[in-house]
């Protein structure tokens, strides 16, 4: 058995143990974990952002960077589609 295979087996065992421990550490199904963030948003979203829709206030205010990433993904998708299909024209 070569050294490469030994390294691969050791790495596999470490990753497998990591995954098993993570699976054992998850909380039971149906039992909510920490709910403090939910309660904070429900209590404070109207006072802090003035919006009635809590989802929009989270998407555009509390997590604006996430929406910026989504907009960037859309821009990249459009640019990619135009780049691919323009070669077929003319």
């Amino acid at each position: 058995m070569s050294a490469r295979n030994v390294v691969a087996i050791i790495f596999f065992v470490i990753v497998a143990m990591f995954l098993v421990f993570i699976a054992l550490m998850t909380h039971p199904f149906g039992d909510p974990g920490s709910a403090e963030m939910d309660q904070y948003i429900i209590d404070n979203t109207q006072r802090e952002t003035g919006a009635d829709n809590g989802v929009t206030s989270v998407v555009f205010d509390y997590r604006g960077f996430d929406t910026l990433g989504e907009a960037t993904i859309l821009f990249t998708a459009v640019a990619g589609v135009i780049l691919v299909f323009r070669r077929l024209q003319k």
Partner: protein, 158 residues
Amino acid sequence: MSGMSKIVKTISNIIFPFITIFGLYVIAHGHLTPGGGFQGGAIVASGCAMILVAYGSLWTMDKIKEKQLSILESLGAIGFIGVAFLGLIFGLVFFKNFLVNQDTIPIFNEIGKGLSNINTAGVLPLMNFAVGLKVIVGLFVIVLVMAYATRPNGGEIE
């Protein structure tokens, strides 16, 4: 893809304004009711795609150039990031909602108490409009370019 029959064109002409107005309503009321920029933009873009299917890609490409659509989508992106940078300038934090809880411009300063007015929520409607414009034009450009590239004799390189 050529145009479809006269019946399809007539029905599309009739229901296209209603689809557009409903989509703009969803965008404008994104901070009050379920929906928002992405969802309303998808509705308006589907209406534009219906016109594209009814009239054909050649006719649509004759009426509107993808250069103009590119400029519109860039305007949406610049508006979104510009509002975020205005938050950095006036509120010292990127993506700060600087139009709410302040006294300089009181028209945007209303705090929602259930069933609010449309001028609540500070910069959220502006961001909704920017993202809505971006999604409308982006999805329509995707459908238009793909339909135009698959027209008869469109795939051949001459």
